[in-house]
């Protein structure tokens, strides 16, 4: 039987793979919490991508002021009411989704990339490289990340990019520690020793053997971190250091609305709820992914 036999071998393998995915989907869908999480995240992406074209008052995004309609309570015309500048709160919240999601993704991806590289090197080589890299990561962890991010953001000046950089700088140690732990565990696996005995180079061992086997914990941490990144961006906005108005950002919206409590409570309530919902969605999704991807559960 030569290579001609491979087509049906490939077919039976694809069937086995699909069965595998069906089992994972079954377990994911088994806990409806994860479905709710997925729905929220999808909603968030839609709002971020198509938001500005769908909103009732696109002009408000660019900072249009309309004093006539100041502080109108939530109504059909203005689902979330209007704020002190007469802008439609619903429009601002939807527009805010893009900022939060973008910065969340950027922070997590930057943090994950930097952290994985540092963690992989420290974990695989061990010895001095491990000691030095991990001490730096530990030192970074001891520093209060929020205050550090504030200092960096303040120094670099307000604005989205600076906020992202500031937060990402404090975010990578988490991944470094996770990846280092995983790499050290996987390094001892027998199939890695076999590859070493075969004379495989470090690159091949990391690429083909170690990284593919530690992808799931990283994905789970990234999905959970998305929520926290959005939270941190909003926190900076709330303290008035992150993204400055008129760009609509949930944290700064909330910070301004604080002064008009309790009479115009809706100007604060809805941006706050938006942050909570976004973070809650990613946390639910992350929890669901962990059950599905967690090898212990699958074995």
């Amino acid at each position: 039987m030569s290579a001609s036999a491979t087509p049906d071998a490939r077919a039976s393998a694809v069937a086995a793979r699909r069965q595998n995915w069906r089992r994972a989907a079954y377990r994911f869908q088994q806990s409806w919490l994860s479905i709710v999480g997925l729905a929220i995240v999808v909603l968030l992406f839609v709002a971020a991508v198509a938001g500005p074209s769908l909103v009732p008052y696109p002009a408000d995004i660019a900072g249009g002021i309309n004093t006539a309609t100041r502080f109108e309570a939530p109504s059909i015309a203005h689902l979330f009411g209007t704020n002190e500048l007469g802008q439609d709160v619903f429009t601002l919240v939807i527009a805010g989704a893009r900022i939060s999601l973008l910065s969340g993704v950027a922070v997590v991806v930057l943090g994950a990339l930097a952290g994985t590289i540092v963690g992989a090197l420290a974990g695989y080589y061990g010895g001095w490289t491990d000691e030095i890299l991990m001490r730096i990561a530990d030192l970074k962890l001891t520093l209060p990340s929020l205050i550090l991010a504030m200092a960096v953001a303040a120094a670099l000046g307000a604005g989205l990019v600076n906020t992202i950089i500031a937060i990402a700088l404090t975010w990578w140690p988490g991944y470094a520690r996770l990846v280092r732990g995983e790499v050290i565990a996987k390094k001892e696996e027998l199939f890695v020793q076999v590859a070493q005995a075969l004379g495989a180079g470090t690159g091949r061992i990391l690429r083909r053997h170690i990284l593919p086997n530690i992808v799931s914990p990283i994905i789970v941490k990234m999905s959970l971190d998305m929520g926290f990144a959005i939270l941190t961006v909003a926190s900076l906005g709330f303290i008035g250091i992150g993204v400055k108005p008129p760009t609509p950002e949930w944290g700064s919206l909330l910070s301004i609305a604080r002064n008009y409590m309790p009479d115009y409570w809706w100007t604060a309530m809805f941006p706050g709820l938006a942050i909570f919902l976004a973070v809650f969605g990613f946390n639910l999704l992350g929890d669901g992914l962990r059950d599905v991807l967690d090898p212990r559960a699958r074995r």
Partner: protein
Amino acid sequence: MLRFAVRRIVLLVPVIVGLSLLIFAIARLLPGDPVTLAAGPNATQAEIADLAREFGLDQPLPVQYWHYATGLVTGDWGQSIFTRRPVLEDLKAYLPATLELVVVAMVLAIVIGIPAGLLAAVYRDRWPDYVSRVVSLGAISMPRFFLGLLLQLGLAMWLGWLPLGGRFPLTEDPPPFVTGFLTIDSLWAGDPHAFGVALAYLALPAFATCLSPLATITRMMRATTLEVLQQDYVLTERALGLSQRLIIFKYVLKNAMSSTLTVIGLYFGWLLGGTVLVETVFDWPGIGLYATKAIVTQDFMPVMGVTLTIGVLFVAVNLVVDLLYGLLNPKVRYE
């Protein structure tokens, strides 16, 4: 055990030195020039230069660091470029407020979180587990500052049960200073009224601070308890007839506690840095508020002071956690 503890304490010194170096580097390398800001918009070059010389900012960086480091040891943590107040004095004034907030929040989180996590694991996949999972996930996702606003809106403004913000009303005379914790000092002074007032002001900010560590400890405790419940020795204990209660609250708890402990240590540090938000919402006179004001004006001396304090406290707390971990895990102790 002693040798284990001494070794850990000795290792503390390089960490703190490293910490001070890192903080000094970050503060000085960041762009932005506090001196010109402090000197005011229409100050002349000469006035700015005088101000810079006064703070020794014109000397080369290593000399500045040496000056800073010796200052740390002798109690001179530098001055605020704006208020000219020594940083150490401000820290002494503001730190107890933050510590009281964080300690009370963590005590609440531990006292409620540990049993909640334990029960969620024991009643796995039944209604107490589902409820606690959803509530704890929700609690983690709740931004502390938004929660603070909601509490203010509900309990302070609409219902008026609790004060809106601040730490102690000027109209009342605070208890004599013993630990700096108003609640403890008023108890120490045997003044129930002051204790009642202090507690009323502490209630909302403490609750807003404690919700996410409470949820995290519950989830962590649930995860570690589940993991311990699957261990072989639990099956052996059950096979030899030990009661479910004895197994859970003695044999499982001690093992589950040791891994949750490290999370508690980490969270204590994060909270120290994170109270900025709650302090801003409730005008709580803590080091978070103090740091925020300094950061806005790029007054880096106070910022370095606050960051170093939090860093040292964080390292100290984790040392205590490390020692407790050694107590719980005999294997580690004999290494």
